[in-house]
């Protein structure tokens, strides 16, 4: 074979390899995004089941419409925020992420922007869904949509720019390691939700005058359990989206090398640790499945480095503690978090970040110092403030202008009456609409 022909074949082979890398990357994130949609489907089922029958569809509409609004708003501002603000509040150059950029649409020279934007958009939808369940049965859908847009397309993604970005200042300054986004997604959404719940207040009938708590049971526990299992499935897309495909190797969002095997070991061990922990302290299937989420979140920051039985134990510890924190919030602080999202995601995220500081200290970062407990602790405080303050302030403003909470008459009658023109169960009599024989909590 002549040298020229050999050279030509090598060049063709290289071009083919480059194309294969591009295609693999696109296909990988495409399916991660599809899987993440099952998180949203899971939240939909889980929250509708956790609502009383009179609120089932209004709860579902809230989830669906948040999804519909988040995607365009993440296009308008979210992707730009992620790319422009890794250094703090001063924007860097991210012209390619502006919504009028040549990269923000079909472009034969850019196979990456759209597919990464899509994956991040679904992360945004997840943050809004985390808040969604806590506020059911009394929030106005309009108020919720405004909160969801700000949380999903501004707040969490600013946190991601700071702590879940190769050049984020939390990593370069403190050595933050949070590979599975326990901080920027779960903690930020959990504490944003806490801020909202303080202004929103409990459901009518949740507390008696003497401070004791009335149970408010959802109308369809099996639907909630299936929903939670769908969320667990979707987490495999979510966590897959946390890994960067480079062609030759897999890298974390911090540019450190990793493998899918690492994630597979520790995700599954974490899920089961959390489930068993919650089961032991509650015996409640709803909490057992919430424990699966606690498990993922508790292990999330160190999924790439933990010894799998250690991930199991960290998640097990989270599973033991989180339901108790939920009860303290409910009984001592009278925070009516309908599904326990503040505890599962907020406190679960706190535990996950601190656990990585305790058990993964010393691992080197590409940018900044090595992982340390102090660095994880400082980053945790930043996420806590970044989540809570906007949630509290924005919900306070909405409360002042009458857009946060529905009318008490509508709440008693059920939000389906005022929010949607169709019935969830048209052939069933909804007891709450009857002759007033039931207590408000029912």
């Amino acid at each position: 074979m002549e040298a020229a022909e050999l050279q030509s074949r090598i060049e063709a082979l290289e071009a083919s390899l480059k194309m294969a890398t591009t295609v693999n990357s696109e296909v990988f994130y495409w399916w991660c995004t599809a899987l993440m949609i099952s998180i949203h489907a899971g939240f939909l089922a889980y929250e509708m089941g956790a609502s009383r029958a009179k609120n089932a569809l209004a709860t579902g509409v809230k989830n669906l419409i948040a999804f519909a609004f988040l995607i365009p708003f993440f296009y308008f501002v979210g992707w730009y925020i992620y790319n422009a603000f890794p250094a703090g509040f001063v924007p860097g150059d991210a012209a390619g992420a502006l919504p009028w950029s040549a990269n923000m649409g079909p472009n034969l020279e850019d196979n990456a922007s759209g597919i990464f934007w899509a994956a991040f958009t679904l992360f945004a939808a997840t943050t809004a869904s985390i808040m969604s369940g806590s506020v059911i049965e009394r929030i106005r859908v309009s108020g919720f949509v405004i909160l969801a847009i700000i949380l999903g397309s501004v707040v969490w993604v600013l946190a991601a720019a700071w702590g879940w970005h190769p050049n984020g200042w939390l990593t370069s300054t403190f050595g933050l390691h949070d590979i599975g986004a326990a901080g920027c997604v779960h903690m930020v959404a959990g504490f944003f939700t806490l801020g909202v719940l303080i202004n929103l207040g409990p459901r009518i009938g949740r507390f008696n005058e003497d401070g004791t708590v009335n149970e408010i049971n959802g109308h369809n526990m099996p639907m909630s359990l299936i929903g939670l299992m769908l969320i667990v499935m979707g987490f495999f897309g979510f966590l897959g989206g946390c890994i960067i495909y480079t062609g030759g190797t897999w890298e974390s969002i911090y540019a450190t090398p990793t493998t899918f095997s690492a994630f597979a070991f520790n995700t599954l061990m974490g899920v089961t640790g959390g489930m068993i922990g919650c089961y032991l302290v509650t015996r409640d299937p709803f909490w057992m499945m919430s424990g699966a989420l606690v498990g993922v979140i508790s292990s999330a920051p160190g999924l790439d480095v933990y010894y799998p039985p250690l991930a199991f134990l960290i998640s097990f510890a989270g599973g033991l503690v989180i339901p108790k924190l939920h009860n303290i919030l409910l009984t001592r602080f009278r925070v009516d978090d309908a599904v326990g999202a503040v505890s599962v995601h907020g406190f679960g995220g706190v535990w996950g970040l601190l656990a990585a500081g305790l058990f993964a200290s010393g691992y080197p970062n590409v940018e900044g110092p090595a992982i340390s407990f102090g660095g994880q602790f400082m980053s945790m405080l930043v996420f806590l403030i970044l989540g809570f303050v906007p949630g509290y302030v924005l919900s306070y403003v909405l409360k002042m202008v009458g857009l946060l909470r529905c009318d008490p008459e509508a709440e008693k009658a059920g939000l389906d009456v005022t929010e949607v023109p169709v019935k969830a169960y048209p052939e069933s009599r909804i007891p709450a609409f009857g002759d007033g024989a039931l207590t408000p909590a029912e």
Binding site: N107, C406, D407, T418
Partner: protein, 63 residues
């Protein structure tokens, strides 16, 4: 309406509709934003009217 920014696929990069017309892109972008804001305003109006109707007429008998 000729919306194509390219006349050949040879060497094409950003080829989405009106990619070479910043004014039209701005119109589409502002239009999308306006739709979203209008939809939220409509949601608020719908809720306010529903609350008022519930107070005046009570729960519909069919429910």
């Amino acid at each position: 309406m000729n919306s194509a920014p390219i006349t050949t696929w040879e060497g094409a990069t950003a080829y989405f509709t009106f990619a070479d017309s910043p004014g039209v892109l701005a119109l589409c972008l502002l239009g999308s934003l306006a739709v979203c804001i209008y939809a939220i305003a409509s949601m608020v109006k719908h809720e306010n009217e529903s609350y008022r109707k519930l107070k005046e007429e009570g729960v519909p008998p069919s429910l």
